[in-house]
Amino acid sequence: MLVPVFTLKLSHKLVPRTVALGRFDGTHPCLAAATQAGKVTAGGGRQQQGGGAGRSLTASPILLPSGLLNINQAISCLSAGLLRPQPAADCLLVGTATSLLAYDVHDNSELFYREVSDGANAIVLGKLGDITSPLAIIGGNCALQGFDYKGNDLFWTVTGDNVRSLALCDFDGDGKTELLVGSEDFDIRVFKEDEIVAEMSETETVTALSPMYGSRFGYALSNGTVGVYDKTARYWRIKSKNHAMSIHAFDLNSDGVCELITGWSNGKVDARSDRTGEVIFKDNFASSIAGVVEGDYRMDGSTQLICCSVDGEVRGYLPGGEEMKGNLMDTSAEQDLIRELSQKKQNLLLELRNYEENAKAEQNTQLKEADGQRGVIPANTQLQTSLSVNLGSDSQSAHVELCISTTNDTIIRAVLIFAEGIFEGESHVVHPSLQNLSGCVRVPLTPPKDVPVDLHIKAFVGYRNSTQFHVFELTRQLPRFSMYALSSPDSATEPLSFVNCTMNERPQRIVMWLNQSFLLPEDAEFQSAPFQVCFTSLRNAGQLFIKIKSGGEISISTDDIDLAGDIIQSMASFLAIEDLQVEADFPAYFEELKKVLVKVDEHHSVNQRLSADMAEHSNLIRSMLVQAEDARLLGDMKNMKTRYIELYDLNRDLINQYKIRCNNHTELLNNLKAVNQAIQRAGRLRGKYAYWEGTGSPGSH
């Protein structure tokens, strides 16, 4: 069994996901982590930290005597690594909600400090694509920015939602790294410099990404899922009730391939095979894991895996050597295997016995009351499901209806539907009360996003007084655009906004896509151009027109720019179109965008005014303080008191102003997010990156 080669205890509480290992003086490795209330501890290691005494510049950090760096703001991300060409020492990068700081711990000086209005939720250090100097790339409010060691902004682009995780990985195998971005809209996007080359939809906020080797990378979601992707294909994933706090790739069993190491919120650390997700090692900490890093912490020439808990407990593991034969667990693998096989045997024997009993039951085919209780049902019982659009009534809003029914007098006791992304949790249960039991259950579904969803249905079928039920399991796919009901084109007014494009495809194929992606009462058939269908959204009653004109021109009319983008993407991927020229006009949306831009300007000017006020106030404070202290030294208590009261009032004003500033800032952020999203949305209208695969260059656009 693998045991830690060293353990140590830091005296601080660490903030999860902000642990990094750096050689800040070029040789000695040192653990850096954020503590609560905006400090960075850069302690540990073999050398004593903290060269210079604290400096007193207010805007810049102070290295406390205790080896703490005071940031005075909640730290959202932290990283360490080589950024400068000279000297070859790592620098520390600290991101907060408004700024990014690059810091030289050894010299106790800052390399650069940049205000970033979009914030820094995640940070990654390294080379990106063809950009020669290493960058510190931060992801914030829909925006990505990369800085070199001088603080020059060499890389900037936008993405669909708030960025929560970043990683650098050679995704297409061209020897250059691409940027993986995980965001709050559940997507993992791959950027080849500033262009998106792939996009994978997950089921929850992507909280962590970690390159493994080649094009393989690990990911973690906020619902407790971790898994491994190779390019756009998911290898495996597992879900736990705990949350993955940190993931890292490390070859723990010395087989030459990295395992995915996960630190969990319950203090567990496990290493899983990159191919199967099988656990090859696990250990437990007393509290949640804050971070998992690697490095030669003992300076003996070997690399250790280092895990830190939020309570400051640190354990380092050396990869298992030859003699362990990859067997890192304490119980012997053979024993486990025998146990597993024996369990399988028991299960098979049980199943066999079930069939025997069943055959016995068949001998007397008469159904009796007692049989019903035991769960005997006619063997030809079938479960039928159908999906349809329900336009709703006064008491119920419009929804997609899943109807499940049996074919005879049996009843459905309960229905469990496991599906991702459309329920609050991962499942939805329908359990009618005893008097409402019947052979048919209707389940209203309202998927919040236009994504195809697999519904894994488990229905408990039996009789009214049964204590045992048959479980019917089946899977239905909810089409991507199921929340749009077919309506007659005459009654609806066509939206002003539209997207036009021309495809060299047979219209029949497009109609096929239509049948597959929408819930139509009956399959549409293409007779002749022009062909037109009209839908009404169940969410906001917005109209959607899809027209196919002769000559392959397709026109999609909707006021919802997101929907237009989704339709183009879906169509392009169905028809395997790589590049699509489109013409779009969204007058209403652009009007809105214009308003937002005006607002952004306004907020900027308000911000400036407030800053000016603040500067003025601080001057006042200085003079007042001097006056008050003078008065105190002179023994003029009355005067001193008035001065301090004034100072107090001023302080209150400042706090009020600060609150205004804060509100202003949040609004500004929201507006900026809207702008960033607008750029992203417009990008989605082109069928560019929809289905890109292979190793060659994707070509420029």
Partner: protein, 716 residues
């Protein structure tokens, strides 16, 4: 000396019940012992180990479930005759598997517990105890509550037959002939009894008992009164005790105590300080341990502890080191043995798989026919639904012989489902429709592979009653699910006690009407947990209860046509009044309800609650401060500048956090109960004070005891 034991899995039989595995005494030249085990398929299996392979000695044909398996024989000879209890029958087998006895008892119920001593046979059904001598009925006793286990003090030492019954109502009943000698109060419902040291100690009168809430104790059963020797609580919140044995596994000449629990923990206690046992070793198996015994099974010369688990695994914890130092040659042989075992298992599996595939096809075909029926496989679920005294919450434990796929939990009363750290299952709460389907809780537990045991924690609210249902779906084909129901009773947080404090100011509820003793008993069963379902013998009965959360008490005594309920908590009386009148109306029985409210009792109850309230409020405040204080500590480098009270918070931070985590929503529950008390007090006066509740809640934050009492008295 550190005890290090290695786990070896020997064999898997069918699902086993409590106390159904024993080791036969070693005989002849062979030093290793044979194992005999009875399972719920009715099969008795006897096997020995040869070169790491289980070699069967005999195996009987399937039949009814085996409830108990004991060894017997003439006194002062090796106890090597095997007795099993199935249904209402006792069968005897020789160690070679020859049946020499088939004794059909006159019991109408199934046998639940059995003890054998020479020619004396002690059998228990749910409530009935019977003593047979040479299969002739000698004595009979009807117990007041369910009997869990039976034991007889060693006849050769005590010189008389002294049977002891372990009963669900927290009593050990000591009998003499057909009569009760005396009762012994124990701290929890006893589930298993064993003779201390295997022989009852020097006097032969010492017995060890284990309870369903995980406590352990030793009592000396003298001729006139019990003498309590020691008692070990259940600090680590482990499972209930299912089996006890004494064996010297350490080899120091003193027998250790071996304990098997229903959460799969096996413990070894040693007697270092002579009197009190000390926990020496524990090992966690993944499923409940029904029987445990020390002996020598796997290899000559190495002692071990053998345990049988719910799904029928016979697992040994052996003193034989895993990596023997005999050089690599032997190790190689060992792994070869393993390999051949694995490959034979694989072959067997393949064979089975083929057979299953054929059968599956047949099954599929039958579904085409319109006359055929399809039954679902019966699988057994081992479940336990108990109230924990410490945090006044219920725990529901579900255990299945194969891996669980998912569990659906549904409730028609508002309850809280709490997270249990041990569980790895992914919980998902579904939205509920209380109208018209009366669902207040719908949650699914999707279990990880190989989960056979699931533990849930549930918090109920007194006064709100209904049913909790669990639909268990295991990973077997054809897919099936079983529903199990659990009652959430109106006074769900009450627990039976042996005595109450009679000096407290009490409120009284009197019932009079045309109802039978059985009827009123059934109402009490409906309202309160831990009351035997069977109507007690005699004309009247008195039960005492304690509220596990507040510490208030309830005395209920009733007879035909009359019932009297006394409690110092007005809310308890109010709930009883509502439920009882509703039940009586359902049965169209005219009830004459009168009550006597003691004003003093409200003050008394508030005095009882207030310290808890204050403590919890203080705890919440302290916990709130911890992070900020820690930050200060880090910033300043030391804590000398802090006031002593803040310094002490920092010092105790870990304990405080632990305590706070242990009882989530404790404060909210207290607030709720005080509010109920407030409303109920005035309900009896006929005034509705619901409008004043916000005022009450407001003043609860940091208020003095006197202030609270004054508020209760002023509001009207």
């Amino acid at each position: 000396m550190e005890l290090s034991l290695a786990r070896v899995d020997y064999l898997q039989v069918g699902v086993t019940a409590q106390k159904t595995m024993r080791l036969l005494p070693a005989s002849g030249r062979a030093a290793t012992q044979k194992v005999v085990v009875g399972d719920q398929d009715g099969v008795v299996t006897c096997f020995g180990m040869k070169k790491g392979e289980p070699v069967p000695v005999f195996k009987t044909l399937p039949g009814q479930k085996i409830a108990r398996l004991e060894l017997g024989g003439a006194l002062n000879t090796p106890q090597e005759k095997i007795f099993v209890a199935t249904g209402s029958e006792v069968r005897g087998f020789t160690k070679r598997g020859k049946q020499f006895l088939s004794f059909e008892t006159n019991l109408t119920e199934n046998i639940k517990a059995m003890h054998i001593s020479g020619a004396d046979l002690f059998l228990c059904a749910s409530y009935i105890y019977n003593h047979y001598c040479d299969c002739k009925d000698k004595h009979y006793y009807l117990s007041g509550d369910k009997i869990n286990d039976v034991l007889c003090l060693p006849v050769d030492k005590v010189n008389s037959i002294t049977p002891v019954l372990a009963c669900q109502d927290r009593l050990l009943r000591v009998l003499q002939g057909s009569d009760l000698l005396y009762e012994v109060e124990v701290p929890g419902p006893p589930t298993v009894l064993a003779l201390n040291n295997g022989n009852g100690g020097d006097s032969g009168e010492e017995i060890v008992y284990g309870t369903s809430d995980g406590k352990l104790g030793l009592t000396q059963i003298t001729g006139s009164a019990p003498v309590h020797k020691w008692e070990i609580g259940n600090e680590k919140k482990r499972g209930g005790i299912l089996c006890i044995d004494s064996f010297d596994i350490v080899g120091d000449g003193v027998k250790e105590l071996l304990i098997g629990r229903d959460d799969g923990v096996l413990e070894i206690y040693s007697f270092e300080s002579v009197d009190e046992p000390v926990l020496r070793y524990d090992y966690a198996l993944s499923e409940s341990i029904g029987s445990v015994q020390g002996g020598c099974v796997g290899k000559d010369g190495y002692d071990e502890v053998l345990a049988s688990t719910y799904s029928g695994w016979l697992t040994g914890l052996t003193t034989e080191p895993v990596h023997r130092e005999g050089g690599s040659g032997e190790e190689l042989k060992l792994s070869q043995e393993m390999q051949s075992k694995i490959s034979s298992l694989r072959n067997e599996l393949e064979h089975l798989q083929m057979k299953v595939l054929q059968e599956r096809e047949k099954y599929q075909q039958s579904s085409q026919s319109s006359t055929a029926v399809s039954s679902v496989p019966a699988f057994s679920v081992n479940d336990k639904f108990t109230l924990n005294k410490d945090d006044a919450s219920y725990s529901l434990i579900l255990e299945v012989q194969t891996a669980i796929d998912n569990v659906l939990v549904q409730s028609d009363v508002p309850i809280d489902l709490l997270d249990v750290d041990k569980n790895s299952a992914v919980v998902s709460f579904s939205s509920c429709d209380s109208e018209p389907n009366s669902n207040f809780l719908l949650a699914t537990y999707r279990c990880q592979a190989n989960t056979t045991r699931l533990e849930l924690k549930i918090r109920s609210i007194e006064g709100q009653y209904g049913t909790l249902q669990a639909y268990v779906t295991p990973r077997i084909q054809p897919k099936t699910c079983q529903v199990h129901q659990y009652q959430i009773k109106p006074l769900s947080l009450h627990q039976r006690t042996h005595s109450i404090d009679h000096d407290r100011p009490m409120n009284t509820l009197m019932l009079k009407g045309q109802f039978s003793f059985a009827e009123i008993h059934s109402w009490v069963v409906f309202c309160l947990p831990e009351v035997p379902e069977k109507t007690p013998a005699g004309d009247s009965v008195t039960f005492y209860f304690q509220n596990t959360f507040l510490g208030t008490q309830l005395e209920s005594s009733y007879r035909k046509g009359e019932g009297c309920f006394k409690s110092d908590n007005i809310s308890t009386i109010s709930i009883l009044k509502d439920v009882l009148s509703k039940e009586a109306t359902k049965r169209k029985i005219n009830l004459n309800i009168s009550y006597d409210i003691n004003e003093e009792s409200v003050r008394h109850t508030l005095k009882l609650i207030h310290p808890k309230l204050e403590y919890q409020q203080l705890l919440a405040k302290k916990v709130h401060l911890i992070d900020a204080l820690r930050e200060l500590q880090v910033h300043e480098g030391n804590v000398d500048f802090l006031l002593p009270k803040y310094r002490s918070i920092l010092e105790e931070a870990d304990q405080l956090l632990e305590e706070y985590k242990k009882q989530p929503a404790h404060l909210e529950r207290l607030y709720g109960m005080i509010t109920d008390l407030f409303i109920d007090k005035f309900k009896f006066k006929g005034t509705n004070v619901k409008t004043k509740v916000p005022l009450l809640l407001e003043m609860l934050d940091g208020c003095e005891q006197d202030g609270l009492i004054a508020f209760f008295e002023a509001a009207a």
